[in-house]
Symmetry: C2
Subunit: 401 residues, 2 copies
């Protein structure tokens, strides 16, 4: 695969790099810089965890004070969370190192970090790594950047979409890391999405906000919410198309659609690459009294340990699905419920129904499992993605070393 135009480098004016700084050790890439020629406007969504990592605090401050950004530095291996004022100083210094290398202000550099919580981050290693990555940014660096932000992920997560603004074309591209802790309210996840569209900050905020619910907020792996979750959307206008000023602009819908498609693709890649996962499960809930109720049921089922274990065992245990739906808090009539695996209905009217067991067995053996739940109580619907629970998940989280 050509490394040009990949992920965050798909849009014009964007360059990136990923280097091994020594935070992870073993020569693994662990610091990425994503840079723009022209200053870029930005929108962001951060963790709702009360415990915010230093990079979250630093980036939030910058976004509140500043309207244009030249780069994002991302590091992996150490979350720089629960590290107090010293951690904030390290994050600031990394931004400063990138800024002086690129020739911009520290205020124009955002930061995101992921890794172990509560471990001091060595300032010298981190700053040197940030500077090294900043020196190497190029249009070919998208894949290296995608690699450098991973923790226990097994593959890089990249996505690109294009859309038209009047006669011109703009690109939206992104990279992400997920793995464990993918929860209803984000996860231990980072995503950086770049575009060469020109858009007002309010338009970026709206497009990103709209994309979140059906992408990163729809991934449910283990219910844990991180201290570091960060999603950034940056627009540098390098495509030369006119600025999208409001959501009433006819170019807003296709642009927001491209942002949503990139986020959705990254989110599904995360669910598929969850720690230890051998299955990607789509829980598709229909017939709920409201979309909110449908989402509630979908999350309860995708997040259920017992359902996750049964997926690992390729066992279509719909009784647990029904029980988890019933415990979700959503209101519905269990005796109107229909449950299917891969489209084959196994429960109707809340009780077992004769069905093609061979077809269900074959579906359960695949990597993509679809659990359909029709609550029979309305028009509300939602889709949530999860994974199975395996020995490997346990092993990956038994120790920090």
């Amino acid at each position: 695969m050509s490394a040009a135009g990949v992920g965050v480098c798909a849009a014009q004016g964007w360059s990136a790099a990923g280097v091994p700084a020594g935070i992870k050790g073993g020569g693994a890439k662990d610091v990425a810089v994503i840079a723009s020629g022209p200053p870029a406007r930005a929108a962001a969504v951060f963790t709702r965890n009360l415990v915010r990592a230093a990079p979250v605090i630093v980036s939030m401050r910058r976004l509140a004070r500043h309207g244009a950004f030249r780069a994002v530095v991302v590091s992996s291996g150490n979350a720089n969370a629960a590290t107090g004022e010293a951690g904030i100083d390290v994050a600031e210094s990394m931004c400063g190192g990138v800024a002086s290398t690129l020739g911009c202000e520290a205020e124009e550099v955002l930061i995101a970090q992921t890794g172990l919580i509560g471990v001091e981050l060595d300032a010298q290693i981190a700053v040197r790594g940030a500077e090294a990555a900043a020196r190497r940014v190029s249009a070919d660096g998208g894949m290296d950047a995608a690699r450098a932000i991973l923790t226990t992920d097994t593959v890089e997560k990249i996505a690109v979409e294009k859309c038209r603004v009047d006669g011109g074309e703009v690109a939206v591209g992104g990279i992400a890391k997920g793995a464990a802790m993918l929860a209803p309210s984000m996860a231990t996840m980072l995503a950086v999405v770049t575009t060469d569209a020109a858009a007002a900050p309010a338009v970026l905020r709206r497009a990103l906000g709209a994309a979140m619910e059906e992408s990163f907020h729809s991934v449910f792996v283990d219910g844990c919410t991180s201290t570091n979750d960060t999603v950034l959307l940056l627009a540098n206008g390098a495509a030369g198309t006119r600025e999208i000023e409001t959501r009433e602009d006819p170019a807003y819908a296709p642009f927001a659609g491209a942002v949503a498609a990139v986020c959705r693709s990254l989110a599904r890649q995360m669910a598929a690459d969850a720690e230890g996962a051998t299955k990607l499960v789509t829980v598709d809930v229909t017939g709920a009294a409201s979309d909110a109720d449908a989402r509630c049921v979908a999350r309860a089922v995708a997040g259920s340990l017992l359902v996750k274990c049964s997926l690992a065992g390729e066992d279509p245990y719909w009784g647990r699905v029904l029980a988890d739906a019933g415990a979700s808090g959503a209101v519905f009539d269990p005796s109107a419920c229909e449950i299917s695996y891969g489209g084959v209905v196994v429960c109707r009217g809340g009780v077992a129904v004769a069905h093609d067991t061979a077809a269900v067995t074959a579906h359960m053996r695949g990597r993509d499992i679809v659990i359909g739940i029709d609550l029979g109580s309305g028009a509300g619907r939602a889709e949530v993605w999860g994974s199975d629970l395996t020995h490997d998940y346990v092993d990956e989280n038994m120790g920090t070393s």
Copy 2:
């Protein structure tokens, strides 16, 4: 151990039996009957799951219509849940079989069941087993009954407490099954507590309600809530002591204390015997703005998959504990937080603190782990019990067969 006076047979006038009926197969005991000579008053707490198993529906109806009970029939191996009207008929027939054997009315027999959801229960096998158990009840049958109600539990759970009512002594004894799905709002758990005290139904309801929060509701294993959860408290007055009529009665406090102690003991036995568990963890939260906030944090930490995996790996990863507390929804100042393992403080002021690592390592190697969290924000406190997450948990829940 002598089988006389064990568990539900500790109080006078109570007898029990546990027999293999063939629901589980392999000759395992799977039907218990617990009977009283004198009619007993009852209080009950049932699952909050919207999907209620047939035995829950049947017992709720009886408790609403009837004030005195002669027996409880409990079966394991099939939950008789999501089985529709046919399942209700089977549960009614089991009660009827017990009643005709004991010579009482079917309305005087309560029922609880546990096991697989969504699988038809063979009426003939179930009724025959209920009758066989009813025929064999004796004062020596407490342990057999405790055994017959288990599913994936590895040991019987029994507890007895005594207290005084004026000059006389009353006994409170119970049996329970837990294993998986122990959640904040009960679990797949059944418990039957019997006493020879005489008490008004309102007194029984209050004593049981008060006992729930710091016993069964404080066990958190996997966040799943069952269709079948049932806790019953029955009082037959056979001790000959006067009736406890109100909660202002001086005998109420010692009686409620004995009920609470039995429930607490059974709940801790459940947590210790959770599926695949090698550790019993006590999460002790202090310094919260309220008890409710403390409980919220304790549940989030005890229920965190990542914390549970780290316990299996004997890794004192306090960063995850802090992150899960922060995501719990409780409000506190992370920079005032103190976290300890086995009393050794590892995080103070929200950051790592030098400590005796050998002492922490030794504590993590034990079976009983205590995680202390002082939020530094008030006087609220709570204690929740959980377990670690191991390969065995995954294996036990991979398949239903």
